[in-house]
Symmetry: C2
């Protein structure tokens, strides 16, 4: 039976034989949102039980690069010489997080971001007060701060004074996708939780919510080595079980841009928690939105031009590379090419850090653009025309078409290298349950469902379409905390 | 209080004082889906009551141009000399209706399309057996058949033998947006319904569903001149109340491309029925999808080139104009321009039907592309480069960039006319409740909610992102019939 039809509708409490476990607050999932919720609930005096599907804590967060989107003047921003304010952070989020983003969440997040940073530090999350300034997906070393959302590129740099807000926990030997910088966010959070008395059960898969006759959520049903167990939440359940990236039916129904593509998430992100809440009448939002990666060296992209299959440029290449991916994936059929010249390749090579990925090799090299067009299947003359317009303005250090910053603009000269970026993108959904700022899961009337809270990518967070690296660990930990605190009180 | 917070959560039957009305089947909405459902339910022997919010039948359908997407070899297709098969129709729908479209619905719809056409004729819907072959949004006269989905343009013409499937009821003096061709679909359907004994109450606004303690839908609560009335459905409720185009909060949450834009629908499309079903745990799908119009003469567009704000072409201009709109709206920031030359303008003028809209006037005219770029704010050289590539291949009657058909491809020569199409697009959402082929409203486990059915734009129908004119009246009437028949039996 596929995950998409694993029953998610609620069980009624009177139908249960008995409860196998009890806690004040039951947190589903021990990733970033679950760990933050567990800490906050325990600190608020609740007896907390975390139900984790895998055999250990961490979730997708442990494998992530570790960006946490924070700002407004954090200690690291200040130490690295950057000025930032909650107002500027809010203005950036309002401009960058997509149409329909929850304005109340954006405002609160910006207003309390410094306090949240300090809380993470208090939990033991280590940050090195150094800035990494090169274009890239993440710092190759243990630098603690980087631009991660295109703040210093068009159109945002013209709207809001730029400040880097991608904060990365310090870690040596990190390997994103296995044990990334996110591991050093998770380890202290989990230790803080366990020290605060949080209990965790592993290898225990959330199946369904349990409701009382009056509709209030009373607990969860889970499976533990094939055996069904019922866990009673005396106060609240907090759903923090990740996205629906690995539920193909939900991806097909809601995020066609990701259909059939590898999810940049963990397999446990099967959407079961989203469906379980929907079954109780929970509302959803921004289900179509997704983050999209493009696996091409940003240091190379910024020095060249990225075009679609028709030879048209797609975006300013100095922006957050996730925006390049989103543009290609969502709007250009996920087919693209990167054109550079020899000087660009050499400069990118010289700027490349030893710890970074191996230098990619171009798919085609030629003195002749027409030859590259023919080899890449770009209509004859189309790439040449794009290059001609680019070079014409680059002579003056300008890019009126996509407004790449002058420092990256220079005419490209033969010989050229062309890289295919076709079909190499993937991502994860950003939408989910609609929640209030305290993690209350809202029904279609905007009323919280009693006894139920949620956080992290089980919910729609800050991003409604646009994205910046660090938003997921950021809003997962921030609203996870708030959900946990509120869960302990109700 | 805005519609978005008008309560939609269910009322419990035991809380009601009494039922004010009774029927076997209660149909919410007297538009195309509701009328088709009412006919089918009544013919199946049920006592049917239609609850309509406005003071008359018709819904958005009466104001629509009237396209009904039908094929597979209808009497009109055959009379006009077109060969079509259910297999070809299915193949086209599978290619054109977007990623994630419900394959079972597409297959059934194609397989039974001829039968559905015959049923409409039996109901008294008049069709003239004439074909209108010019590019356009709809036939200017009373012609009964037209291409309405880009079947005869790239990429579909290379995949499936083209056949026109836009069937339009015959009507004189139609004015789309007030009383369009859809009126002559609705009038016979409603008359058939009333003749079959269907009762209708007008000025009665659906508010909430009523459920029994076991969750089964038992009826609806509506307001009639400010008074709340409870209507008991002894067998089923059929929700056929249109889309959520006029619920701004839902549009912001689900269809950002339409945020803040005029909805191409009627104001009654407030999403209340969608929300009422969601409150019972109904699943939703394709909420992001929308149809998008572009208010520029298709006869002019096909003879020129349509570019975005950066001067890049967006799509083959000979396709269904809704696809041009969708491309501009969803993927190019809704900013575009149409470039034509004098010959194109003259040819379009000569081909323009007397009954068609007035000829639009270009925003700018010049011999010099650079001047047009400056006036339109297109980066210098960008439009010229696009034109150069277009003309280069047009000399050979080819368009390798977007594959417009050879008959429309010709180099454009000065003087030129440039039309702004910026910000002039709007549309309506295509997503909604997830239903089975008999209108059963499915919960997140894929199980029908007892006592509840839905059809029309309250549901996600055939289109999951791509669209063709006639899909809404087509799937609304087709699946409305099926929902009505099934509703009478349960």
């Amino acid at each position: 039976m596929s995950d998409s039809v694993r029953p998610a509708s609620a069980r009624r409490e009177p139908e249960l034989a008995s409860w196998d476990e009890h806690a004040d607050v039951v947190v589903v999932g021990f990733g970033v949102a679950g760990a933050a919720a567990a800490v906050a609930a325990a600190v608020s005096g609740a007896d907390v039980l975390v139900v984790e599907r895998t055999s250990g804590w961490g979730g997708a967060a442990s494998q992530a690069g570790g960006f946490i989107y924070l700002g407004g003047g954090t200690a690291i921003q200040r130490a690295c010489g950057f000025t930032d304010t909650p107002e500027n952070m809010h203005a950036f989020l309002a401009a960058a997080m997509g149409t329909g983003a929850d304005q109340r969440k954006l405002a609160l997040y910006a207003e309390r971001s410094v306090e949240h940073f300090d809380w993470l530090v208090d939990c033991g999350v280590p940050f090195r007060k150094t800035f990494y300034g090169k274009p890239g997906w993440e710092p190759p070393g243990d630098e603690g701060l980087m631009y991660s959302g295109g703040e210093n590129a068009h159109p945002f740099d013209g709207l809001v004074p730029p400040a880097p807000r991608g904060h990365v926990p310090q870690m040596t030997g990190k390997r994103t996708g296995e044990r990334g910088g996110g591991y050093m966010l998770m380890k202290p959070l989990v230790e803080t939780a366990l020290t605060a008395g949080v209990r965790a059960v592993y290898d225990t898969r959330f199946e369904r919510l349990v409701t009382a006759n009056d509709g209030r959520v009373r607990g969860v049903v889970a499976t533990h080595y094939g055996r069904e167990i019922a866990i009673h939440a005396q106060r609240s359940v907090v759903l923090a079980a990740g996205s629906f990236a690995f539920n193909p039916a939900m991806v097909d129904r809601h995020v066609p841009a990701l259909s059939g593509r590898p999810g940049a998430a963990v397999e446990e992100h099967d959407g079961q928690a989203v469906r379980a809440a929907q079954a109780l009448g929970a509302d959803v939002e921004h289900l179509h939105a997704c983050e999209a990666a493009v696996h091409t060296d940003p240091g190379l992209m910024v020095r060249g031009i990225v075009v679609d299959a028709r030879g048209d440029r797609v975006i300013n290449e100095d922006t957050y590379p996730g925006r390049i991916g989103e543009e290609l994936l969502a709007r250009r059929g996920s087919q693209g090419f990167l054109l550079v010249d020899e000087q660009a390749a050499e400069e990118a090579e010289a700027a490349r850090d030893a710890a970074a990925l191996l230098a990619p090799q171009p798919s085609w090299v030629s003195e002749d653009i027409g030859e590259l067009e023919a080899e890449a299947g770009i209509p004859a003359g189309a790439l040449a025309a794009t290059l001609e317009v680019y070079n014409r303005h680059a002579e003056n250090g300008q890019d009126p078409v996509h407004r790449k910053a002058t420092r990256w603009v220079r005419p490209l000269r033969p010989p050229y290298g062309l890289y295919g970026v076709r079909g190499r993108t993937g991502g994860f959904p950003l939408g989910g349950l609609r929640t209030d700022v305290d993690g209350g899961v809202l029904d279609v009337d905007g009323q919280p469902i009693p006894g139920l809270r949620a956080a992290g990518r089980t919910t729609a967070g800050l991003a409604a379409g646009g994205y910046a690296s660090g938003i997921s660990l950021g809003d997962g930990s921030f609203f996870g905390r708030r959900a946990g605190r509120a869960a302990a009180q109700t």
